[in-house]
Symmetry: C2
Subunit: 383 residues, 2 copies
């Protein structure tokens, strides 16, 4: 039941005709309270889409009563007119629900640089509001899909309270195309001043470590809503643990459904001087097209791992770096290690361990390979 | 005649069996003087290959008498043994030519992380030295090819002196695979203290602005040798102009032969606050897989240009940025501009003009599209 698993939430998903396929494309999630604490994390792209600009204002006070989401158009780079469209959407949701527009967060995904067909979107919101249900989570999760092949949902049930969630995004392999939208709900009693920090920590350790090519979306949005309907107040640690588990579950589903991918690649950088160094080195690998094409070709090309790390400013000595691919230490001390022919890359899961021998910190970045299907899908998207 | 066009140079190219194809794979370029001024620019990758480590020492004094180059193996990430191989290669060249090993620069290209077959390489050097000729430039240019489909050469003839050059690298689209090696020769009289700065300026404005995915090679090397055999001393400005023309000519040939590419893309960022900002914004576009796949699909997806620039710290206001693709200003003020259907992307040449409206500086970055053939070629390279 995803976002409607926790008590106090209703949701809906309808087809409004924004997608030419006729598939569902408008989702609505409503928090019926009694609480309305909320928090969000948004893209850091300097061309934030109109719904991001709007929702930042909504969430500024740590409150929200509803989230309306649409696929079929990102409403990004659409100027003041696009912002007016987002505002009008929130106003229409508010009218339907008898709340204020400033209580309504908006999220959009689809092609950048085109206006939304507002007549269709408005009619879709009306229809969604009319079908809101405590069983509507699955419909909502389906309505936010773009190139996703399956809906992504999660439920983390704890002692008398739970967290539900849904996500869209066919892998961070293409976040600028397949924007990541995540809605998390909880019936735990969580004050807004705890919700924000918990969300930022949870995303920093999950979705923000799924990385591929640095193509940062204009629309990425992660929202968490708390109804408090369970009446249970977990400890901050308990809540943080569950929120991170929900975020990580969704992140791994995004990874598994990445556009055209044939590999799920976990790059762990160990013995770094700092976590930042480990992340920098891991991201350099995750964004290296040569490494990603090699892995698509089942080639344990560890030289491309070193070449990628060699472009960073992470602390390391070149002759002390080890690289292990799927358990075989193919590079020792920056030079030739065990026989690369011993590396089995036929499965979907690939682990790359890089030992920088420069400290005691570590971090893992998840990515996918760069496949022919990825190029095909992304070259044919808008045409 | 490429590197042997200027007086005072001999060259050769032979097949030593380093490549399984049997194609030529060892090249030798010798400066017979009377001068031996030389300068070089090397990769900034922190895992420099053995020949880069060696050649930095050779060039440290601003002198060199010969350059030996091999394809069929990069001799990168090969540790002390690999360095010994490079040293032995230089020693063998020196013996053949009756000069010192410290006069011999070495450059290698091919797969990272494998040792060179030294018996074959040594025999190849012997054969190359035996066939050195003032007509040997074309053979040398052919022997340094890897995935290049054609040899790249240039001649810049001036009043009584000239510059010759050869390059390999199937586009900077894949410099870590198809390392860029460039040898430039001149019979002008140019003191070493002028040669270095002129080379750094020439490369900064040419090969270093051909960029694609940030995959920096472990082996990139650009060397210039001056024989002084013409007896003519051009002004520093005259020499700098010719050297830059030679570098740019080779850079455009690299771009045109990029692995699997179907587009040559020139990204010009105008009205930037600084040249650095223009380069940063241009490189962000050149490294954005979503934009590059869109262009492969003949899709003028300007939203991906903004999304790429939006990840940088270049100075601009989001609502003042214009984007023009092949003459059509598809984005005005960060929002929808002229009809994207008016953009003709059927040809190989693509120009993307970004106006940041933040100053008066500009720079152009050249790149290629990301094609299915690129993925295919790079996934199948070493297997």
């Amino acid at each position: 039941m995803t976002v409607t698993h926790p008590a106090g939430f209703r949701a809906a998903g309808v087809a409004a005709g924004l997608k030419s396929s006729g598939d569902p494309d408008v989702a609505l999630v409503v928090n019926d309270g009694p609480h309305d604490a909320a928090a969000a994390v948004f893209t850091t792209n300097r061309f934030p889409a109109a719904p991001v600009l709007w929702s930042r204002q909504v969430l500024a006070e740590g409150r929200a009563r509803a989230v309306v989401l649409n696929s079929g158009g990102a409403n990004a780079c659409t100027g003041p007119d696009g912002f007016a469209d987002t505002h009008a959407t929130a106003e229409h949701v508010a009218e339907q629900l008898g709340i204020g527009a400033i209580d309504v967060a908006v999220a959009s995904t689809g092609l950048i640089g085109i206006r939304l067909p507002m007549d269709r979107l408005t009619a879709g919101v009306t229809a969604a509001a009319a079908t809101l249900s405590t069983e509507g989570g699955a419909d909502a999760a389906r309505a936010i899909m773009t190139t996703d092949s399956v809906p992504k949902t999660t439920v983390q049930a704890r002692d008398g309270w739970s967290i539900g969630g849904m996500a869209k995004g066919a892998g961070m392999l293409a976040p600028s195309l397949a924007t990541m939208l995540v809605v998390l709900t909880t019936d735990a009693v969580v004050p807004a001043e705890l919700l924000g920090p918990a969300l930022r920590t949870a995303t920093a350790l999950s979705v923000e470590r799924v990385d591929s090519d640095g193509c940062l979306s204009t629309n990425d949005t992660v929202v968490v809503l708390s109804s408090g309907a369970s009446g249970v107040t977990p400890t901050p640690e308990e809540f943080a643990e569950a929120l991170q588990a929900a975020s990580l579950d969704l992140a791994m589903q995004l990874l598994a459904d990445a556009e055209g991918s044939t590999k799920d690649i976990a790059i762990t950088v160990r013995n770094a001087a700092t976590v930042a160094d480990a992340l920098t080195a891991g991201r350099a690998c995750a964004r290296n097209n040569l490494l990603k094409t090699a892995l698509f070709g089942n080639d344990p090309n560890w030289g491309r791992v070193l070449a990628a790390i060699g472009t960073t400013d992470a602390a390391f000595e070149a002759d002390r770096v080890d690289v292990t691919i799927n358990g075989v230490t193919v590079c020792r001390g920056g030079a030739i290690g065990d026989d690369r022919d011993g590396v089995d890359l036929t499965g979907r899961a690939v682990t790359i361990d890089v030992d920088l021998a420069a400290g005691s910190e570590q971090a893992t970045i998840w990515t996918n390979d760069l496949s022919i299907a990825y190029v095909h899908e992304n070259s044919a998207y808008s045409t």
